[in-house]
C-alpha cells in the first residue's frame, strides 16, 4: 500500500472525495482522509506541514491565502542526504569566499511560486539555520546565501530546504547572467548620468534661449556655454558609449545598424557645439544632444528589462550544476556526482526522478517517456528492458544498470542536435535595422546635397548647416519608439502568461504561416474520461452500479491514466485483495468477486471469451466479472473545448496547423479527426521533425513549433519561432524562444496578433518620424534651423512617436 504515496498528482486529484490537502490543496485520496483533522494528499505534504507546525511557521499558510497565490502541486521531497555538499571540493568549486571566513553560494530552488515562499525560505535559513544572509529572488527562484562553513553544514541547510519541498540545485558558472546583470547595471548608471546632465544643461539652455530674445551679456552667454560643455562631457563620452560601440561593430560586420545614424547625430551635434563654444560664434546643441542620449538609454533599459525574466529563466537552467545519482555498491546506496557514474553501475531512481543515464531495468517499474518521445502514457518496463535517460519514474523505485552515461546517452545526442539546429536557423534582419540602412543612405545624400547648395550660396555656412541637418535628422524618435513598442508588447504578453526571450522572437512571430503542434495533449483536456459505456444486457441497473463500484475500487491500485477515468465512480466498500497490475490492465478480487479490467488483447491472452456485443462496441477497455465480460468502456482524453476555438482563431490569422507528434498514430489521428486537422502524423522522430521544418523553410514558409519534450528541442530551435510550455523539459525550455504558462495553442494566436500589432505600430512610427525628419531636413537645408527649433522639434517628434508606441500596440 505504500505505493499509494507515489501516485502522480493527476491521479491524486481525481481520486479524492471532497477533502483538500492541508498543505497543497489537492484532493485527498480516500485512504488518507482523517475527518476533522488536517489531511494530506501524500507523505511529502504531511512532512512539510508537520515541520512548519513544529517550528511555528504556520503563518506561511495564512500569507499564501492573503497573497491569493492559490494552490500548487504537492510538496516533492527528494529525501537526498546532500552529503557531497560538505566535501571540500564541492565548496571550492561552487562557493565564493566572503569576509570573516564566510562563503557565498547560489541555489536554484524547485517549487518556488509566490512571495510566501520567499518569506518561508528566508525565515528558515536566517532563524533556524543561522545563515548570515539569505535572499530569494522570486522571479528567478534563485536563493543566495552567505554562511560560515565552520559553524553550519551546507548539507543540513540543503536538507532543510529539501524537507520543505524546495529542492536546492547548486548553480555554477554564472558568467552569462553575471555579465547581463553587469550590463543592466551599467546601462542604468549611464541613464542616470545622462538624465542628470540633461536636466542641468536644459536649465542653462532655457536661460540662453531667453537671452536670445531679451539680449544677454556675451560674457555671461559664454559662461553658460562653457558650463554646458562641461556638463555634456559625461553624457557624450560615458553615457552614449553603447551607441558608438553598436555603430562600430555594425560597420565592422558590414551592416548598417540603427546606432550608426544615432552616433552620427550625437557626434555632429557635439562637434559643432564645441566649435561654436571655442570660436564664440554659431550655435550650440548641448541640450538637444544630452536629452537625446537620455531618452535613447531609457528605451534600451525598458527593452532589456522586458526580456529579463524569460532570459533569466533560460540562463538559470543552463547554470545548474550536474546532478547526483544514487549508486548501489555492495548493497550500500550512496550519492555520487552524475559524472562519476559509469556504464555498468547499478543506480537507483525514486518516483518523480528523471533518469539521467541510459540503462537496463533490473526490475519491473513504471516510467513515462513523455519528455523523450512525446508518448504520454506510462509504460511498464520489465526487467531487462532499456530505459532511456530523460524518462521519469512514475511509481516504485527503479534499479537499473547503466549502459551509457553523460554524452553517450540518447538525451545528450538530442541536446547536441538542438545546438546544431539553432545555428542552422534562417536569420532575419530586424525591421529597424533594415530601415536604418535606407536612413543612413538618405541622410548622407542630403548632407552632400546641403554642402553642395551652400557652397554655391555661402561657403562659410556649409559646416553649420550640414551639422544642423545631421542633428535634426538623428533618428531619435525611432531609436526610442522601437524599443518602447517592443517592451510594451512583451510586458503585455507576460501578463497573459507568454514569456518572450528576445525582441527578435517577437518580430519573427509575425511572419509565421504554419504551426506545427507536437503533443496531442495540447489540444485535449489532459484528463482521461469515460466517453461511453455499455453493459451486458442481462445486468440490471443495480448490477451495473455494483460493477462500476467494484471496478472503481480495483482501479485505485492502478496508476495508468485510463485508471483515473474509472476511479471517478464511487468505490465499493468491499476490501480489495490479490491485486495484479498487468501490462495492459489490472486484475484482483473485490470482496468475493474477481474483476479483470483491461484491453481486448489482454482479455484474449487470458482466454476470456469476448461476446459479440462487446467485440462490436466502440470501446477500448473491457471489464470481466468472474471471467465473464460485463461492461465495455470507451475511454479517451476528450478534445478540450478551447482547442477548437483556438484553431479557428489561428485559421482567421491565416495560419495553417499540422500535427507532428511522437505520440501513437491512432491517438494523433483521433485528435486530428475531431478537430478537422488535415495534416497529421504520429510516431514522428526528432530527426523527422527537423527535416519537416527544413522542408517548409525551403518552400519559404515560416513555421512555429510547439512542444515541450526533449524530442522537440531541436525542432524548437530550428523553427522560426519555438514555443514551449512553462513546465516543459529543461532542454526544450532553453531551446524555445517563447514559453507560455497556459495550455493550448490559444496563447500562440495571441502572440501572433501581438507581434503583428507591434510591427504595425513600429511601421507607423517610422512614417511619423520620417515626416518630422523631412520637415527638419528641409529647414536645415534652407539654413533655417536654430538650436531652439531643434530643441523643440526633436522632443516633439519623440513624444508623438512614444505616445503612439505606448498606446498603439493594444490589440
Amino acid at each position: 500500500m505504500s505505493e499509494r504515496e507515489y501516485l502522480p498528482s493527476a491521479a491524486r486529484a481525481a481520486t479524492g472525495t471532497g477533502q483538500a490537502c492541508a498543505h497543497c490543496g489537492l484532493a485527498v485520496p480516500a485512504g488518507r482522509q482523517r475527518g476533522n483533522e488536517p489531511s494530506f494528499c501524500c507523505a511529502g505534504c504531511e512532512a512539510v506541514y508537520a515541520i512548519l507546525h513544529e517550528t511555528n511557521l504556520d503563518d506561511y499558510y495564512a500569507l499564501r491565502e492573503d497573497l491569493g497565490a492559490g494552490t500548487r502541486g504537492p510538496a516533492r521531497v527528494t529525501g537526498k542526504t546532500f552529503s557531497y555538499f560538505d566535501e571540500p571540493e564541492f565548496l571550492k568549486r561552487y562557493a565564493e569566499p566572503r569576509a570573516e571566513g564566510r562563503v557565498a553560494l547560489r541555489f536554484y530552488l524547485e517549487g518556488v511560486h509566490c512571495a510566501a515562499c520567499s518569506w518561508l525560505v528566508e525565515k528558515v535559513l536566517l532563524e533556524k539555520q543561522r545563515v548570515a544572509y539569505a535572499h530569494l529572488d522570486i522571479g528567478r527562484s534563485v536563493v543566495e546565501i552567505v554562511y560560515d562553513p565552520l559553524t553550519t553544514k551546507l548539507s543540513s541547510i540543503a536538507r532543510v530546504l529539501d524537507s520543505f519541498g524546495y529542492t536546492p540545485h547548486p548553480l555554477q558558472d554564472d558568467s552569462v547572467s553575471r555579465a547581463r546583470k553587469k550590463e543592466a547595471r551599467s546601462l542604468l548608471l549611464r541613464m542616470g548620468v545622462a538624465g542628470s546632465m540633461a536636466g542641468n544643461i536644459m536649465l542653462l539652455a532655457a536661460a540662453l534661449y531667453a537671452g536670445e530674445f531679451t539680449g544677454m551679456d556675451p560674457e555671461q552667454a559664454n559662461l553658460f556655454r562653457w558650463v554646458s560643455f562641461g556638463l555634456s562631457l559625461p553624457a557624450v563620452f560615458y553615457a552614449a558609449l553603447p551607441f558608438y560601440r553598436g555603430a562600430w561593430s555594425g560597420l565592422r560586420a558590414k551592416m548598417l545598424h540603427m546606432d550608426l545614424p544615432i552616433s552620427l547625430g550625437i557626434i555632429a551635434a557635439f562637434s559643432v557645439s564645441v566649435a561654436a563654444t571655442v570660436m564664440e560664434r554659431g550655435e550650440v546643441y548641448y541640450d538637444s544632444l544630452s536629452i537625446l542620449i537620455f531618452l535613447l538609454l531609457v528605451g534600451r533599459l525598458l527593452l532589456s528589462r522586458a526580456t529579463a525574466r524569460a532570459a533569466d529563466a533560460a540562463e538559470t537552467l543552463m547554470e545548474q550544476a550536474p546532478q547526483t545519482v544514487r549508486r548501489e555498491l555492495d548493497g550500500i546506496i550512496s550519492e555520487v556526482q552524475l559524472a562519476a557514474a559509469e556504464a555498468g553501475d547499478t543506480l537507483v531512481f525514486l518516483p518523480g526522478d528523471v533518469v539521467t543515464v541510459d540503462g537496463v531495468a533490473l526490475q519491473n517499474g513504471w516510467v513515462t517517456e513523455a519528455h523523450l518521445s512525446g508518448e504520454a502514457d506510462p509504460l511498464l518496463k520489465s526487467a531487462g528492458e532499456v530505459v532511456y535517460a530523460g524518462s521519469q519514474i512514475v511509481t516504485m523505485p527503479l534499479r537499473l544498470q547503466a549502459t551509457a552515461t553523460g554524452g553517450y546517452t540518447r538525451l545528450a545526442q538530442l541536446a547536441e542536435m538542438t545546438r546544431r539546429a539553432a545555428t542552422e536557423r534562417a536569420t532575419i534582419v530586424r525591421l529597424h535595422d533594415r530601415i536604418a540602412g535606407y536612413f543612413v543612405a538618405v541622410v548622407l545624400t542630403l548632407a552632400a546635397l546641403t554642402a553642395l547648395i551652400w557652397w554655391r550660396i555661402d561657403s562659410t555656412q556649409i559646416l553649420w548647416n550640414v551639422a544642423a541637418l545631421l542633428v535634426v535628422t538623428c533618428p531619435c524618435a525611432l531609436g526610442l519608439a522601437t524599443p518602447v513598442a517592443l517592451s510594451m508588447a512583451m510586458g503585455r504578453a507576460a501578463k497573459r502568461g507568454i514569456f518572450i526571450k528576445s525582441a527578435d522572437a517577437l518580430e519573427r512571430a509575425a511572419k509565421v504561416k504554419h504551426a506545427l503542434l507536437d503533443k496531442t495533449g495540447t489540444l485535449t483536456s489532459g484528463r482521461m474520461e469515460v466517453l461511453s459505456a455499455r453493459f451486458d444486457a442481462e445486468l440490471s441497473a443495480m448490477d451495473q452500479e455494483r460493477v462500476l463500484e467494484q471496478i472503481s475500487a480495483l482501479e485505485r491500485f492502478a496508476i495508468h491514466p485510463i485508471a483515473t477515468a474509472l476511479q471517478q465512480h464511487k468505490p465499493s466498500a468491499e476490501t480489495v485483495t490479490d491485486v495484479h497490475v498487468l501490462g495492459q490492465g489490472i486484475e484482483g478480487f473485490v470482496g468475493e468477486t474477481k474483476i479483470l479490467v483491461g484491453s481486448k488483447r489482454l482479455l484474449n491472452d487470458l482466454e476470456v471469451r469476448v461476446p459479440e456485443w462487446a467485440a462490436s462496441a466502440k470501446a477500448n477497455v473491457l471489464a470481466a466479472v468472474n471471467g465473464r465480460v460485463a461492461a465495455v468502456f470507451l475511454i479517451a482524453d476528450p478534445i478540450s473545448p478551447e482547442a477548437q476555438k483556438a484553431l479557428r482563431a489561428l485559421d482567421e490569422r491565416g495560419i495553417s496547423v499540422e500535427l507532428l507528434s511522437g505520440d501513437h498514430a491512432d491517438e494523433v489521428e483521433r485528435v486530428a479527426d475531431a478537430l478537422g486537422i488535415a495534416e497529421a502524423r504520429g510516431e514522428v522522430t526528432p530527426e523527422q521533425k527537423l527535416a519537416r521544418i527544413a522542408e517548409l523553410e525551403r518552400a519559404g514558409i515560416a513555421t512555429a513549433m510547439f512542444g515541450d519534450g526533449v524530442n522537440d528541442a531541436a525542432a524548437l530551435s530550428r523553427a522560426t519561432v519555438g514555443v514551449s510550455a512553462a513546465e516543459a523539459a529543461d532542454v526544450a525550455r532553453s531551446a524555445a524562444d517563447v514559453f507560455v504558462s497556459r495550455r493550448g495553442p490559444e496563447a500562440f494566436g495571441e502572440l501572433v496578433s501581438l507581434s503583428r500589432n507591434t510591427l504595425h505600430t513600429i511601421r507607423r512610427n517610422v512614417v511619423i518620424a520620417i515626416f518630422y525628419n523631412s520637415v527638419g531636413a528641409g529647414l536645415a537645408m534652407a539654413g533655417l534651423i536654430s538650436p531652439l527649433v531643434a530643441a523643440l522639434l526633436m522632443p516633439l517628434s519623440s513624444l508623438t512617436v512614444l505616445t503612439l508606441a505606448v498606446r498603439g500596440s493594444k490589440p
Binding site: 503563518d59 497573497l67 522570486i138 546583470k181 547595471r185 542604468l188 548608471l189 542641468n200 558650463v227
Partner: protein, 55 residues
C-alpha cells in the same frame, strides 16, 4: 556676476554628490530585483503585528 559663478559651482557639486549616491545605489544592487523586496515589506509588517498580538 559673482553670485552666478558661485551658484554654478554649487550646482556642479550637487550633481556630483547625487551621482555619487546613485552610483552607490546601483553598484549595491538596489535596482536589480524590483519585485521581491516589494513583497517582503508586506510580509514583515504582518509578522510584527502578529508578534505584538502575541505579547
Amino acid at each position: 556676476m559673482n553670485i552666478l559663478y558661485m551658484l554654478m559651482t554649487l550646482a556642479v557639486v550637487f550633481i556630483l554628490v547625487f551621482i555619487g549616491f546613485y552610483l552607490w545605489a546601483v553598484r549595491g544592487g538596489q535596482f536589480d530585483d524590483l519585485e521581491s523586496p516589494a513583497h517582503k515589506i508586506l510580509l514583515d509588517d504582518r509578522q510584527t503585528q502578529k508578534d505584538k498580538d502575541g505579547k
